[in-house]
């Protein structure tokens, strides 16, 4: 069974002061996070001496626009997400290190993701120490601890109805070309079904930026997302 089946996506909490207070807590154990970061260190550096390597350095990553490190050659996928307004707050960073492709299609970050919620929290707590915006206020917007919501195994196990997906797809192909050509608008043809499902749920929950996609995904049911994933996944 694929690791995606236990995927956890996160959702905005922030309803009322009391709740916000409850949510405001340390992100995780920074000391333990330093050890988790070893898994990232093959590509990324952080700290006073850090430079860009295979991946960009991660100083000041919190609250920064994606792809904002001048001098680093980012993938078109992450540049597009940046143009759409992706900002690295805690919620997005966590979604990204859990499954990079769920948040940014076509990213070059070739990393299968950190399954363990504690690992993610700890490594982000560690990275938080190298970001001074906003200084040392763990409960401020970009670092507030979000509430987690499961994308349940049931949702991921829905078998899409291809015929229904084909009908629904006609709405997508006004912009996304069926043959996979992409100029200005990304290809959605031939994706692994799970990636498609996760991406659409991330739009529906407004974790992924982009108003058109948030709107389109916002009115798709779980079954409809599965149907589309099956249809587009099966196209050559």
């Amino acid at each position: 069974m694929k690791r995606l089946l236990c995927l956890v996506l996160t959702l905005f909490a922030l309803t009322g002061a009391a709740e916000a207070e409850q949510e405001a807590q340390q992100i995780g154990d920074a000391e333990r996070g330093r050890q988790v970061f070893v898994r990232c260190a093959a590509c990324h550096q952080v700290g006073p001496e850090a430079t860009d390597r295979i991946g960009p350095h991660l100083n000041g990553i919190f609250d920064r626009r994606a792809a904002a490190n001048a001098g680093f050659d980012y993938s078109p996928g992450i540049r597009r997400a940046a143009d759409d307004g992706l900002v690295w707050d805690l919620r997005r960073l966590e979604a990204y290190i859990e499954n990079p492709k769920a948040l940014v299609s076509g990213t070059r970050m070739n990393f299968s993701g950190l399954d363990d919620a504690q690992d993610r929290a700890d490594v982000l707590a560690y990275l938080r120490g190298f970001s001074d915006s906003p200084a040392d206020i763990p409960e401020a917007a970009p670092t507030a601890r979000p509430r987690e919501v499961d994308l349940t195994p049931e949702i991921l196990a829905i078998v899409g109805d291809r015929e229904y997906g084909e009908y629904l797809s006609s709405e997508c192909t006004t912009c996304h070309q069926r043959d996979g050509t992409s100029d200005g608008i990304p290809s959605i043809t031939g994706w692994p079904v799970e990636d498609f499902v996760v991406a659409m749920h991330a739009y529906r929950r407004q974790i992924r930026p982009h108003p058109v996609m948030q709107m389109m995904a916002g009115r798709l049911s779980d079954e409809e997302i599965a149907a589309l994933a099956t249809y587009f996944g099966g196209l050559e």
Binding site: D83, T173, T174, C175, S182, P211, V212, G218, R219
Partner: protein, 419 residues
């Protein structure tokens, strides 16, 4: 309301049952005739032919050999597109199984279910799809009629009119005046006139920076107004003036021979005058007797005419409810109509209607904005579900991304329409 799989299966059976019984009876294949090969008609013809795989005969009647999209024709005016890049031909539709007839439909006999062509032919149909776009309301702008469209082009059907308008703008004297008479609601492409003004300003800023642009507008408000006004201020400060109804924008008369525009009785001499008159459904809808107040009312569930269940009307001609008249909308409606018609004629599954629209507009180089919404069919109309609009003050990266996305959309939708 969200429908899940179980709900709509029930609904689809019911929907099919209330439409007239399948016409699959004995003799020959069911026949669909589509009048108008634009954004709506070509999409419908292509989808019915593609999805019925030969089970339904599809004939498309369209007079022109090459269709010039109105969408992106403003970008041609601004110098961002070549005119040729807006032309689309019908060869791939023909290869996809559509019988393409280059002719005008001149009469519809609803009793006999036939369409007569200007060339003399007669086509019989089981279902007729009308997507003839718009025509202009006679006398809408006093002093202007179709014989004046050379002196004062509308350029609201793309092609030679667009080329003419651009040539006139290029030939304006230094410091000259470009006037636009904007249309009242409802009309094709609500942001269209204002995107056009932006593109004309872009062109003039480079070639004739002391020129002026005057918009005479009968409407209080217009689409994406805050975004356009912000952009005009930022890019073309002082060049563009708009006279709304408070200052006589609804009281306009033109004199094409003298090249003057009288606004509330005050006569202005202008160098170019782009008259975009009030609009109505393509005339063939009138001739078929399915219009009311100039437009063809339809039931959004399958884009069926409210006056004749054997006729479906798509795109600009249809009076459907909340959707703006756009190429995107016409394309979206066409898919719902195609599915419905196939359901009736060949018994294929009918799913609930879903519609969407997004209109991108270009304000200046790499400064794109957009507005969009999703819609569903209710018994009363096509009703808006959800929507968004670009914000004022967005950064240049987002505006550039929006523009690039519009290029992708153009490539995508024209492939979706013409194959």
């Amino acid at each position: 309301m969200k429908l899940n799989r179980r709900h709509f299966l029930g609904a689809s059976v019911a929907t099919v049952a209330t439409l007239s019984a399948p016409t699959v009876i004995g003799q020959g294949k069911p026949r669909v005739v589509v009048v108008g090969g634009g954004a709506g008609g070509a999409t419908a013809a292509r989808y019915i032919a593609k999805d019925s795989q030969g089970a339904i005969d599809v004939t498309l009647v369209e007079p022109t050999r090459a269709y010039f999209t109105c969408f992106f024709s403003n970008l041609y005016l601004g110098g961002f597109r070549e005119l040729d890049s807006l032309a689309h031909t019908y060869g791939r539709l023909a290869q996809g199984g559509v019988n393409v007839v280059h002719d005008w439909a001149v009469a519809i006999d609803r009793e006999a279910r036939t369409v007569s062509l200007a060339g003399g032919g007669v086509l019989a149909y089981d279902r007729l799809i009308l997507a003839p776009g718009i025509d202009f309301v006679d006398g809408a702008v006093p002093g202007w009629d179709i014989s004046a469209q050379h002196a004062m082009p509308h350029a609201y059907k793309a092609g030679s009119q667009t080329e003419l308008l651009k040539a006139q703008i290029m030939a304006m004297p230094e410091g000259g005046v470009f006037a636009m008479v904007a249309p009242p609601n409802p009309f094709r492409c609500p942001p269209g006139p204002y995107e056009r003004v932006s593109m004309v300003a872009h062109l003039l800023k480079a070639s004739n920076p002391s020129a002026k642009i005057l918009i005479v507008d009968p409407k209080e408000k217009f689409s994406k107004q805050a975004l356009f006004e912000e952009g005009w201020q930022a890019h073309y400060g002082g060049m563009i003036d708009r006279i709304g109804p408070d200052f006589g924008g609804a009281d306009v008369r033109v004199d094409p021979a003298a090249m003057t525009v009288a606004i509330d009785g005050v006569v202005e001499k202008v160098d170019v005058c782009n008259v975009i008159p009030a609009q109505k459904a393509g005339r063939i809808c009138d001739m078929a007797g399915i219009t009311e107040n100039g437009w063809a009312p339809v039931d959004g569930h399958g884009m069926q005419s409210r006056m004749d269940e054997n006729i479906h009307v798509l795109g600009d001609s249809a009076q459907q409810g909340d959707m703006p008249k756009s190429g995107f909308s016409a394309n979206s409606q066409a898919k719902v109509a195609a599915m419905t018609v196939r359901g009736v004629l060949s018994g294929s599954k009918v799913f609930p209607a879903k519609f969407s629209n997004t209109c991108w507009s270009l304000i200046d180089t790499e400064d794109g904005v957009k507005v969009g919404a999703t819609y569903e069919a209710t018994d009363e109309k096509i009703a808006k579900v959800d929507g968004f609009i670009s914000q004022t003050g967005e950064d240049t990266a987002l505006r550039r991304a929006t523009y690039e996305e519009s290029l992708g959309w153009y490539a995508g939708i024209t492939k979706d329409i013409f194959g």
